[in-house]
């Protein structure tokens, strides 16, 4: 039995784990071959202990907060630990088990082995632009069962002690539309796990098993304590919210939650949510767990490093078979839209209870466009798939952020216009803020964006993955609702056709427009500082009419001075 470990050693080891996570992240981004990985950074990396508990997760998409540890536990359940060797690489993308999300998100895991003993796993989950299936880009708005959404990889050993299983690799190559890109991303993922495994093994060799075990236990205990300490700051109680989920190819369905906050528990009960639908707008239980964890982390402590312990107080309750807990073979390729709405629901329930931490509702969709086609003079297929930024809700003391990705996309980026134009048959004709008078409030909701793509080339097909195309983001404490999002085709003759949750052929010369919504406002707009309203008018964010009608402030159109305040304001300030 060792004497109690030196607290400084424990911190040094903890810092080393965090540094390894960051290194994995950078390596993946720099070697990947698809824009969704190297520009958007739609992936996540992490390290688990030998039992599959998360030790650290690098930056990346919050969508994957509940996924990496479950993947390792799936592997451990299928392959006896005694048979797992150095150089093994596991691959899985089954959405219903093992931390799966949708088939496009492929998880790679590699064991760290010291002295013949497995000491942990490095994992990398990334969005592949192509995993086959009925439509180019694999995610669709029209699938009715999982088999149309791509190739399924149900927890396989891809490398055996460093030797690739060429048969599996051949099957993957043969089933995806862009084999070089998918194989390139696979290599980037494996490279990052290989680096992490080496670093983790060095740590174990350097500090020894006993100290490492103590350090890992310390990290988990510490993050659980951080969560509980922050949870004690929230007012205990039951908080409820309900909303409608906009589903592909059907009428909106009911979603609801009851959040019970106590001093050491954060229980989210989604009972009452509509059964799964026969279109890809469902998510699996993993997605629901991640959705809840995102909000919890944001509420309790958004900045500290996370481990499995961070989420100790969180419990998710929901019967099987709802739109949040879909089961085989229900399609789930648009799971992230459903996940974002689940997060928004939990957030809505607790927002007004924690005004110093939560804002009004945000645009709550990726407002993603998926466009594929070929150049006029080439048979080569290109596929653009990109999430878009939108408007965030205002909060006490602050206007909402403009043009920021939604809550579940974490640290992802927009694809630069220059990259789009050089890689795809598209011309970016407009990239602007989506300005309107919606989202009004004492603090204003932030604006979304407008992005116009002029189509060039042939065989071009476009679709939009859009929630909140019907119901805008919610305002809070008397603030107004935001605006809705859309993806639409503007035909050469000027007619506008919605592509939100549907797919259509587009012709060279047409424009595909992405229009993301504003976030909700916070507080009564009649309480907004008149000078701030005048500045909004001067900067083009609020119209003269809006200033007068909504904010009760008459602004001079020439010098933007405040001319007159409506008597309606008097009663409120």
């Amino acid at each position: 039995m060792m004497t109690s470990p030196d607290p400084f050693d424990l911190e040094i080891i903890a810092n080393s784990f965090v540094a390894i996570g960051e290194e994995m992240f950078v390596t993946t981004a720099r070697t990947s071959q698809s824009t969704i990985v190297y520009e958007v950074l739609d992936f996540s990396v992490g390290i688990t202990d030998v039992r599959g508990r998360l030790i650290t997760q690098g930056n990346g998409v919050t969508l994957f907060l509940a996924t990496l540890a479950d993947a390792v536990q799936m592997i451990l359940g299928k392959f006896p630990i005694a048979e797992i060797q150095r150089g093994d690489v596991f691959v899985l993308n089954d959405p219903y088990v093992g931390g799966g999300t949708h088939l496009s998100d492929v998880t790679i895991a590699m064991p760290a082995v010291v002295g013949g003993r497995v000491v942990g796993f490095a994992c990398n989950k990334a969005h592949w632009t192509e995993v086959g299936g009925a439509t180019a880009g694999s995610v669709s708005t029209s699938a009715t069962e999982i088999y149309q959404e791509g190739l399924q990889l149900p927890c396989l050993k891809l490398y055996d002690a460093g030797v690739p299983n060429e048969a599996v690799l051949d099957v993957i190559r043969a089933n995806v539309r862009l084999p070089d890109m998918s194989m390139g991303d696979l290599h980037a993922q494996i490279a990052s796990t290989r680096l992490a495994v080496e670093r983790v093994e060095e740590l174990f060799v350097r500090y020894g098993d006993e100290l490492m075990d103590a350090a890992i236990a310390h990290m988990m205990r510490h993050s659980a304590e951080v969560s509980r300490a922050a949870l004690r700051q929230l007012a205990p109680g039951d908080y409820e919210a309900e909303d409608t989920l906009e589903v592909a190819g059907g009428e909106p369905v009911r979603i609801c939650v009851k959040v019970t906050v106590s001093h050491d528990r954060f229980v989210c009960d989604f009972t009452g949510t509509h059964p799964a639908v026969m279109s890809p707008t469902n998510c699996t239980r993993t997605g629901l767990e991640s959705a809840t964890r995102v909000v919890f982390k944001g509420l309790v402590d958004p900045h500290s490093a996370l481990t499995e312990g961070t989420f100790d107080p969180v419990e998710v309750r929901c019967p099987d078979g709802t739109v949040f807990t879909a089961q085989r073979p229900t399609p789930v390729s648009l799971y992230w839209e459903v996940l974002a709405r689940a997060s928004d629901l939990v957030w809505h329930a607790v927002a007004e209870a924690v005004p110093d931490r939560a804002s009004a509702g945000h645009f709550a969709t990726t407002c993603a466009d998926l466009i594929s086609g070929r150049a006029e003079d080439s048979d080569e297929l290109w596929i653009l798939f990109e999430p878009n930024a939108g408007g965030w809700g205002a909060c006490e003391g602050h206007d909402g952020a403009r043009g920021l990705v939604n809550i579940c996309d974490g640290e992802t980026f927009m694809i630069p216009c220059e990259i789009v134009e050089s890689r795809y048959g598209l011309h970016v004709e407009q990239y602007a803020l989506n300005v309107s008078d919606s989202g009004a409030g004492q603090w204003r909701g932030g604006e979304g964006v407008i992005r116009d793509y002029r189509i060039r080339g042939r065989d071009v097909v476009a679709s939009g993955m859009v929630e909140r195309a019907l119901e805008p983001a919610w305002g809070a404490r008397g603030g107004c609702d935001g605006s809705v999002s859309a993806v639409e085709a503007i035909r050469a003759d000027g007619t506008v056709e919605s592509l939100s949750m549907r797919r259509a052929d587009v012709e060279s010369g047409d424009v595909v427009r992405v229009r993301s919504g504003s976030g909700g406002g916070w507080g009564d707009p009649l309480r907004r500082d008149p000078d701030a309203v005048a500045a909004d008018v001067r900067n083009g964010f609020v119209t003269l009419d809006g200033a007068r009608e909504i904010y009760g402030v008459v602004v001079d159109p020439d010098d933007f001075a405040v001319v007159e305040l409506s008597p309606r304001r008097g009663a409120r300030s």
Partner: protein, 483 residues
């Protein structure tokens, strides 16, 4: 856009500076340090001020390369420790690593702005003398990135700081002499340092000395991670490099970091605390030209490459001619940004003077560089993305002066003894020396401390220092074999 943003302010400032200097009769040979490790004229700096980003620390890296060249050491890792940060960079075979992937204002909560100009590749972390050691609510321990700065500064300054900093910890364990802080020009209090460190020690149930050693160890571990970022993580073995210590705190921590990373040798240059200022004097006029050309690296014809580089070379000749430099005084180097087809990010590969002379060697250089950085190579085709031309115009520089050899040994510089704690090697009586009095070839065995105005070199019991001909302190392990 960022250049345009800063240009009006900088242009006005540089113009004013130029005029004021001219009034004092200084109107020739004024150059401005650039992020790329070279210098530029004042006129150029008014056009492209963005090229000055981070140029201060960069000068230290240039200085290290020059020092290394003078003493025949070409593989170097620099370590620059100031009040709030530690910065490190790697020099391989005399070549300073330059990146065009630099972001300003990038933090964990801000995506920052890419500036795409050549910047010497420096990794910076929030660990310096003023970095604060603190415990969070749940008892988690950290050093930095929060810093006490100069006001109130470390607790020992007595200006109202009560939180323990790395400097306080160094004072508590005897590595800093409270009576010779900044050469004795500033008064610091050991009692205040001990009180501050005890705040952390008490909560952890440790003595003041244990807590101080822990704080130093944690700060060192952060610095080790930074040095690993520029070395191990880019495929370089630290054992093949010398560590060049600079900044006020560099020489205090360098010995311990070298031991940890098994770096065989530490170089502490003269005037180490203001070394980057000296480095600026040692730079050449530098300018960079880039031409984007996306092409299949194996297929593009040699004539086309030569033609494109020829255009850049003509622009370079014109530029240097305008600065009064021609022919032998100008060195042009070609390189190309390359990647595997389908990738976005590139790896920069140096090209021979005549492009295409041996294409397979260039391709192999790319594959090797990619594998070194990222552990794998692919069979996929290779693309050229940008052609780069770097021009160096050789400027007149001060000559490195050698120390006069004396017969005196170290005892001439001995100023006393005190108890210093060396962590795993325990607390020992260390000899204290005054650096300025140490002559060439003098040897100082550990445990010892060498003090000079502005910095302190710590020599552990298992280490020793030899003063070289140029006055650099060369620190090695007594039992180690320097390569």
């Amino acid at each position: 856009m960022l250049n345009a943003y800063v240009q009006p302010v900088v242009a006005r400032y540089m113009q004013g500076l130029d005029a004021k200097l001219a009034e004092r009769g200084i109107d020739d040979g004024i150059y401005v340090m650039q992020s790329s490790g070279g210098s530029m004229t004042i006129e150029q700096s008014r056009v492209l001020p963005i090229n000055m980003v981070e140029s201060g620390p960069v000068a230290g890296v240039t200085g290290a390369a020059v020092t290394g060249e003078a003493i025949g050491r070409s593989n170097l890792i620099t370590l620059d420790i100031g009040g709030t940060t530690a910065k490190t960079s790697l020099i391989k075979a005399g070549q300073v690593e330059v990146t065009t992937d630099y972001y300003i204002e990038r933090t964990p909560t801000s995506s920052g702005y890419p500036i795409k100009v050549p910047v010497v590749d420096i990794v910076e972390i929030g660990a310096g003398g003023g970095s604060i050691a603190w415990l969070d609510e749940a008892g988690g321990l950290s050093v930095g990135p929060r810093s006490a700065g100069a006001e109130p500064g470390p607790a020992c300054y007595g200006k109202g700081g009560t939180e323990p900093t790395v400097t306080d910890a160094n004072l508590v364990v005897g590595r800093i002499d409270p009576d010779y802080f900044l050469g004795g020009q500033m008064e610091v209090s050991r009692e205040l340092a001990e009180q501050a460190v005890a705040r952390v020690g008490d909560r952890l149930g440790l003595t003041v000395e244990q807590a101080a050693l822990g704080i130093i160890r944690l700060a060192n571990a952060n610095m080790v991670n930074a040095i690993k970022l520029v070395s191990v993580r880019r495929g370089h073995d630290p054992r093949d490099f010398d560590l060049v210590a600079m900044g006020g705190g560099g020489s205090m921590h360098a010995g311990a970091l070298a031991a940890e990373l098994r770096i065989p040798r530490v170089i502490v240059p003269r005037a180490t605390s203001v070394f980057s200022a000296w480095g600026m004097l040692m730079t050449d006029l530098r300018a960079d030209w880039v031409r984007t050309k996306v092409a299949d690296a194996a297929a593009i014809r040699e004539e086309e490459l030569n033609h494109l580089f020829g255009e850049l070379e003509a622009r370079a000749a014109e530029y240097f001619h305008g600065e009064g430099l021609n022919g032998n005084g100008v060195v042009l180097t070609r390189s190309a940004d390359m990647r595997y087809q389908g990738q976005e990010h590139t790896v920069t590969v140096h090209l021979p003077a005549a492009a295409g002379s041996d294409r397979s060697a260039v391709l192999e250089a790319f594959h090797a560089a990619h594998e070194q950085l990222y552990t794998f190579r692919l069979d996929t085709g290779v693309e050229i993305v940008n052609l780069r031309l770097t021009g160096l115009g050789v400027l007149h520089k001060p000559e490195l002066r050698k120390l006069e050899t004396t017969d005196a040994d170290a005892s001439a510089a001995l100023k006393g003894r005190r108890r210093v704690h060396f962590d795993s090697e325990g607390a020992q009586e260390a000899s204290i020396y005054q650096r300025e009095l140490l002559g060439a070839a003098v040897e100082v065995p550990g445990p010892a401390i060498i003090e000079e105005t502005g910095s302190t070199t710590v020599i552990a019991p298992s280490q020793r220092v030899v003063v070289d001909d140029f006055g650099n302190l060369i620190l090695t392990m007594v039992n180690g074999t320097a390569r």
